[in-house]
């Protein structure tokens, strides 16, 4: 099941650049939450702070608190534990090129020492079904490399890989921006189905996409969160002038 996320006074830096400034936000469980805003506004940095990927950059720094399902991820747990509970799907599909489709999906478990073959088979099948890729690859699971799939299939493979470790939250950083419209539609369908079981945070440049998949939407601008509300309200009657300017296409 998904869990809620509470962000308090979150600040993040890359070197001396203050990328995120005093973000306060509550993301409800089992909903899809979209983050929109122009390039460089900090929305990617924000999601990377939610699974402590931000700090893998040596010049990065972060302050404030993030509670995921009541657990303070910067105080009470190691980054490795957090990343198992908070899965991530990246902008460009990044399957492991040396691994088969099967091994890609099983990688999160296998690399953490999980060895039960029978259960792995089940988990791989379930994850691929969840990510709506099973029917397309079931005959060549162990023969074909993950890198031999099409871009859209690769991204669904990456989603399956993230789901296989059974996370509570799924972060998606522009998951469809490198894909064609058909693949994008498939990913969006997927998000719709997945949110019954996971809390989903999706960064997107595509405002229609936010409107289609997310209950709530946050608008970021220059490292600050300008507005957070129901998607319907953001797109029809935003309270901040800057949000209105952005969604009506006056800038960004």
């Amino acid at each position: 099941m998904g869990v809620s996320i509470e962000v308090k006074d979150l600040n993040a830096w890359y070197g001396t650049t203050h990328t995120l400034q005093d973000i306060n936000l509550n993301i409800p469980a089992n909903h899809a939450t979209a983050l929109i805003g122009p390039s460089g506004c900090g929305k990617s940095t924000f999601v990377r702070c939610l699974n402590r990927m931000h700090e893998t950059n040596p010049v990065a720094r972060v302050t404030g608190s993030v509670q995921i399902g009541g657990l303070d991820i910067y105080e009470d747990a190691s980054p490795v534990e957090i990343r198992r509970r908070v899965g991530m799907v990246f902008q460009r599909p990044n399957p492991f090129p040396t691994m088969s489709i099967y091994d890609n999906v099983a990688s999160g478990l296998k690399l953490n020492g999980y060895r039960n073959r029978h259960e792995l088979d089940e988990i791989v099948e379930r994850s691929l079904k969840h990510s709506a890729l099973w029917d397309e690859v079931k005959d060549e699971l162990k023969k074909k490399s993950g890198a031999s799939l099409s871009g859209g299939q690769q991204q669904r493979l990456c989603i399956a890989r993230a789901l296989a470790v059974d996370p509570e939250v799924l972060l998606m950083d522009e998951p469809a921006s490198a894909l064609d419209p058909v693949s994008t539609a498939k990913i969006e369908d997927l998000i719709f189905q997945l949110k019954s079981q996971y809390t989903i945070v999706i960064v997107t440049h595509n405002m229609q996409q936010a409107a289609r998949v997310a209950e709530n939407t946050g608008f970021f601008l220059m490292g600050k969160m300008i507005e957070f509300d129901s998607t319907h309200k953001i797109f029809t009657n935003p309270s901040d002038k800057r949000t209105e300017d952005y969604i009506t296409g006056r800038f960004g």
């Binding site: 699974n51 990927m53 893998t56 490795v80 534990e81 957090i82 990343r83 198992r84 509970r85 899965g87 991530m88 990246f90 460009r92 990044n94 399957p95 492991f96 090129p97 040396t98 691994m99 088969s100 990688s107 999160g108 690399l111 953490n112 060549e140 023969k143 074909k144 490399s145 890198a147 031999s148 990456c158 890989r161 993230a162 470790v165």
Partner: protein
């Protein structure tokens, strides 16, 4: 119709330029490959006739007698190169991993990288003398082990630098994918980054292996050579390059013949070893991988 003429002229110029460039490329390729082919053909011409069962099964006959072989040198080369690879490959790969993944940009990494480059430039005879004074003198005897150490140290810089370069070529998003799954960094480095880079890393190891397989100088003061069959690491041992050197310098025609045969076998063994490693490591590669 001046315009059509101009067009035809330009077309002809393009045809000429295209063929001239192709010609230059082909010439360059031939020049690169020719010496290799020439050496190989000449070796087969001179050496093939002395290759027979006895060559591979017998130890050398005393000077002046016919027959005899280089079995002891073939086994010796195998042992010495085995020791060298056991030492050079793990240390070299470990160093490369440190440079690319952990020490990146740090002071120690720069020192390690600089040392490796200097070590690469150390003349092999100097390496022989160094190992002589560090291992042979304290132990008071020459040994296959000392020869292996000398070759192993010579392998390290090549393996380290190629490993580093190959690891750096692994795309950043592959590392992020592993970390994002909650895989610890050390595990991600070994199972994802190193594995993705493994074809290149293996090529680096083979390059280093092939290079030291033909080294003679560092073995002169370390493995020394041996006219008898030996399987022991703590005794002097014959190796192909060193045996070829001794035989080629001798006044005996029979030994000259063996030296040619030895040279051919040395090259063949290197080719076989490299092909074997490539074959073994390329099995299990998936359709469409990388």
């Amino acid at each position: 119709m001046a315009r059509t003429n101009e067009f035809a002229l330009r077309n002809r110029m393009r045809w000429f330029g295209d063929h001239a460039a192709s010609f230059l490329c082909v010439t360059a390729t031939v020049l690169v490959v020719a010496p290799l082919v020439a050496i190989f053909v000449y070796l087969i011409f001179k050496g093939a006739s002395s290759l027979n069962i006895a060559f591979f099964l017998h130890k050398p006959a005393p000077m002046g007698e016919t027959g005899g072989g280089m079995a002891n040198a073939i086994i010796g080369s195998g042992l010495v190169l085995g020791v060298g690879s056991l030492l050079g490959v793990p240390i070299g790969i470990g160093g490369g991993i440190y440079l690319a993944e952990f020490g990146r940009g740090g002071k120690l990494a720069n020192i390690v990288r600089f040392t490796a480059d200097v070590l690469n430039g150390v003349p092999s005879i100097v390496m022989g003398i160094a190992i002589y004074s560090l291992i042979v003198v304290p132990q008071k005897h020459f040994s296959a082990f000392a020869g292996g150490v000398a070759l192993g140290i010579m392998m390290i810089p090549t393996v380290t630098r190629t490993t580093e370069e190959m690891l750096l070529m692994v795309p950043h998003n592959i590392r992020e994918a592993a970390l994002g799954l909650g895989v610890p960094n050390w595990r991600s480095v070994l199972s994802i980054t190193l594995k993705t880079a493994s074809p290149g890393v293996i090529t680096g190891c083979m390059l280093a292996f092939a290079r030291v397989a033909g080294e003679t100088a560092p073995l002169l003061f370390t493995a020394l050579g041996n006219d008898f069959m030996s399987y022991r690491l703590d005794e002097p041992i014959a190796t192909l390059p060193q045996q070829i050197f001794v035989y080629a310098m001798s006044p005996d025609d029979e030994w000259h013949r063996l030296a040619w045969g030895g040279a051919l076998v040395l090259i063949l063994l290197i080719v076989i070893a490299v092909s074997l490693v490539r074959y073994v490591t390329s099995r299990g590669v998936l359709k469409g991988a990388s």
